[in-house]
Symmetry: C2
């Protein structure tokens, strides 16, 4: 079993490319992690996810603890075996989704009491319980249990929230069962306040983690504010540990964040928007249901090697999406994940070749 | 381009095995045709449909004429290219679905006026228009436009309906544009009345078709009645033409119909019931959401080579179906189509080896 480790192979400005070693293999960075909420990347076979170029996927603790439960998954051999994904898996802590999905939440120092959005049953998430669940799932990368500070927040609100998260970070570290090849990531909070981000980062570094996530962004603050927070936050983090910007984002968010020193991303955008008929292309995002594609015999993207682009016309994809056919969700999702992984591969190659600045310029021109 | 033809390689009792040659390749018989209603076999990539062992799929004229329209599909290169299925395609005539799905139907000697169930737009289907649509789609096997006699029907009702269908059969034959490798099938009607089935068969044979379907069954009459109709109807049909039992059926329906001399089948059962959580196995059909499978680490069918059985447990499939995950529909559909094609392959092998009687006995024991 390899040590959980991170090696940087090349840098350009703040941008880095390298690889994380985990119990289930290597993650090439910068990496985009497709979201596999309920033990499935929606509308995709795991081998198809792999074929798009993804090294790692993300699972959601909140969803899995409720259904089918972490204990059941553990009994069935762990999340990798359960869902037939044999590469690395990162799980979130459940904190974010307890806030956004669960009913009747009660946040205390101990943790969060909530009712399931599925059947109203009562549950508790705490740093200790979140670590236990992620251990049962067998996550290669466990996230500490924190509170994702709502946006906007006053300095006082953000400070209190960040303080709670820091105390929970320490409890998470203590509860985490260290195994060879498995890592634990801290999460920097502090909203849009530089002093709070610094306190958070310092506190986490003192505790010591295998990687550092930047949380509380992509919650409505906009790209400019987000980039501003990244500008001062990534330099606060250790050079030799991976940095993960949670829940991000649009292709231009990712390119801009890599420029600012981020190594890992996850977002439901390619999968969710694919199911809704939005396709990402080198010429920007398009809505396949637009009437101008009704008779369009050309593929979504002539340069793309995904099955949707190799074998089907825009007219056919529009027909499927308008008819609410499952194959529409399958092909559109596949294309979008392929697009995202192509983007990440292009980013990695460009940094390796010392041509990332050029890449960014070309990318920005392509977006119009 | 091969002549449209049918060759019988072996028989046992009334059962036959052979092959139909078409413009897009060979159909091994007895054959099961997965239903690809709206230019997609729901939740399946065409290469996956092929991988289950299917030689031919079925498309629905009614659905395709409304959306995306036959003219559009023709302009985009035909149905094969549109949906990326390069094997044979059979299309129905639209008659059955006009009756079951459309609004405000008006049946006249000329044809059927109806309103689309999608947007209420007005349309007309007649023998001539149905032939034109199926020609535009590029179907390897075109079905005549007929009226599927409702069940139950009095002798008088069934006679009138069968008479209309026979007049429409003649008009269909006249309107059909014959091309090398493409065939036109007649449809025997007459409900459960032997004398009417005979009149219908005789009338159709006089007109002359490349194959003969048996219509108006699998509409609620039950297996015993259906088998009884087959017992006297298949001997009325030419030995040297394929026989197609429309809309059938359960595995035991298929085995019993092959025993009675049927060569081709289509049914939404494996696809639709798969999406609803029903799986066909050698030990009968099971409902995957049954609580006894919640912790079941074994596959649906240990002997089955489909991806659902090779890579996933019943517990995982139950989780997907209960969570309404698209991957649940994908895997359950794949398994069921694989099961159906395995069944057809087993039937063909058994007839070839002169062991079909043994096969039927084993099949019946397996069902409990």
């Amino acid at each position: 079993m390899p040590e959980f480790s991170f090696k940087i192979n090349a840098t350009e400005g703040k941008a880095r490319t390298g690889a994380i070693q985990t119990a289930h293999g290597e993650i090439r960075t910068p990496a985009f992690m497709p979201v596999g909420t309920a033990a499935t990347v929606k509308a995709m076979l795991p081998e198809s996810v792999k074929a798009t170029g993804a090294d790692i996927i993300l699972g959601n603790t909140y969803h899995l603890m409720l259904r089918p439960t972490a204990e059941r998954i553990a009994k069935l051999g762990g999340l990798h075996k359960f869902m037939n994904w044999h590469g690395p898996i990162l799980t979130d802590s459940g904190g974010f989704q307890v806030m956004s999905l669960a009913q009747i939440r009660k946040i205390k120092e101990e943790g969060v009491q909530f009712q399931s959005h599925i059947d109203g049953s009562k549950h508790m998430l705490s740093p200790e319980r979140s670590m236990e669940i992620q251990h049962l799932l067998g996550s290669d990368i466990t996230m500490i249990f924190d509170e994702c500070t709502p946006y906007p927040a006053t300095h006082k609100q953000a400070e209190d929230s960040m303080g709670l998260s820091l105390r929970w970070a320490e409890r998470s570290k203590n509860a985490f069962i260290k195994r060879e090849g498995y890592g634990l990531f801290g999460i920097v909070q502090g909203s849009v306040y530089e002093d709070l981000r610094e306190q958070s980062a310092d506190g986490l570094i003192k505790i010591g983690f295998d990687g550092y996530a930047i949380g509380g962004l992509a919650v409505g603050e906009g790209q400019e504010v987000m980039f501003n927070v990244l500008d001062y936050t990534t330099p606060m983090l250790p050079q030799d540990r991976p940095r993960y910007l949670m829940g991000v984002g649009k292709p231009s968010d990712i390119v801009g964040a890599v420029m600012r020193g981020v190594d890992m991303f996850d977002c439901v955008l390619p999968t969710r928007s694919g199911r809704n008929g939005q396709a990402f292309t080198r010429n920007g995002a398009i809505n396949i249901t637009n009437s101008k594609y009704t008779d369009d015999a050309t593929p979504l993207d002539a340069e793309c090697k995904c099955p949707a682009c190799t074998n089907y016309s825009k007219a056919y994809l529009q027909h499927l999406v308008k008819s609410k056919e499952i194959l529409g969700a399958m092909l559109m999702t596949w294309h979008n994940l392929h697009y995202y992984q192509d983007l990440m591969a292009g980013i990695r190659e460009a940094i390796t070749a010392g041509k990332f600045e050029e890449f960014v310029e070309e990318f920005n021109r392509g977006l119009h």
